[in-house]
Symmetry: D2
Subunit: 144 residues, 4 copies
């Protein structure tokens, strides 16, 4: 997938998300897009009390929302600002109990077809021993 | 799995969730537990502007949070109030664009072992043509 | 999905599979279609030494092939003999170690759209305590 | 996961598989282990008429068996020859129609815990435009 070239910058993505998806930030309201590049987008879920669950760990739904959002950012970065892309499936494995700190997510496009985009999303924490979660996600994308 | 018998009532579950998981309701703050029975729990995600995404449809992350929460309720209903059960994986397929209305979710336990619980969660809307989403979920449960 | 009506009989499906997919039976060569009905197909994987793995249990790949084949049968039963339907994703959870006996699989269609079909497949053994495996599967289907 | 160190060589793995799992090769009988290294194993599914499905493409079940087998090889390479590790779940996305040629699979361990191992498996063909499939897999591993 080395031939993928982003068509939106981080700033353009952030502005689009802010304008079109204020609710998208639900459960992820401290999420920022850190970088986009050929075939990928990297996001950061800022640590917040709101994302905690008992035991003091970051909740699964917060990480699922992060994975979905990272994939959405990766797709839009490569096809342009299309609000109508929708998730058709998501699979996530949780590997390690996250510390009370930010989580980084990098979505990597495995396919960007006419109708479907497929990607893998890895999530980790700075200084951690390995990934906290790994997801696969498919988006249905509108005809271009 | 006909031999499964709930050990918590709807009221006990709701009280436990309210006390231990105020944050769990993130992205699902209008969710109520409607019923528990042998091997299952049924929840309702009340419609809310907050759960919308562009195009006026209910967001994927709101449904993922609902699936996870429904499975959690089904597990706790059968093992008792154990805050330390954690999701180890979740898979979800989105089948139909939901209408702007409540979503019902029924989690059915497929296995309730010593260390892992596995369940299937179907989500639908009253009057809809078929399920809006279907999920599989695995929880790691503490030794009893 | 109560409005689904099969357009192929068990005999027609078996004949089509035999003619077009001799290789499909790989890892499942003792598989028979037992029933088709509105929205579902039920198959039987006959017990065979070939499907065993160490410890004397039926191998995961044999059950994955069975799930995929059951979904394929359910889709074809409802859209007619179209060789070009292809699996786009499959998720499977293994719940119980199978006994050395036949495995039954029922694929239930959750969506049969223009381009995609989604189904859930439950696998069990006669006299068993609960399902041995549960799968979700998506097929891409050609324009009709 | 940089701290992972293989404890079996390619030759030791091949000999163990040959001795203990003659049936494991079902649907993958032309599969060889090409390399093992810190946290990964790489396998090759040799092209065979047997793995074809209509349309002349390599069957989904052949790739699922390959993903499962690659993960098994990666796990054993790091924990030693333990026949009793079993798959608890597998998720696979098929991205591109494979050409009639070998398929390579690299399984990368994301977690190697006391009871569970989680990995991601990427599958591709030499000269191809991108991955043909991507899988996630969880193995339950016996106490060591």
């Amino acid at each position: 997938m080395a031939d993928l070239v982003p068509v939106m910058s981080v700033g353009e993505l952030e502005a689009f998300m802010e304008r079109e998806f204020p609710q998208m930030r639900m459960g992820a309201d401290t999420t920022t897009i850190e970088a986009v590049g050929p075939g990928f987008a990297r996001l950061r879920l800022g640590f917040s009390e709101r994302n905690l669950r008992p035991g003091g760990t970051i909740s699964g739904p917060a990480m699922m929302a992060l994975a979905d959002y990272a994939m959405y950012a990766a797709v839009l970065a490569h096809i342009g600002p299309v609000g109508l892309a929708v998730t058709t499936s998501l699979h996530i494995d949780f590997m390690r109990r996250p510390a009370q700190a930010d989580i980084l997510a990098e979505a990597r496009l495995l396919k960007l077809g006419r109708a479907l985009a497929v990607g893998a999303i890895e999530m980790w924490q700075e200084g951690g021993e390995g990934p906290v979660a790994h997801a696969s996600c498919t988006y249905s994308i509108p005809p271009r």
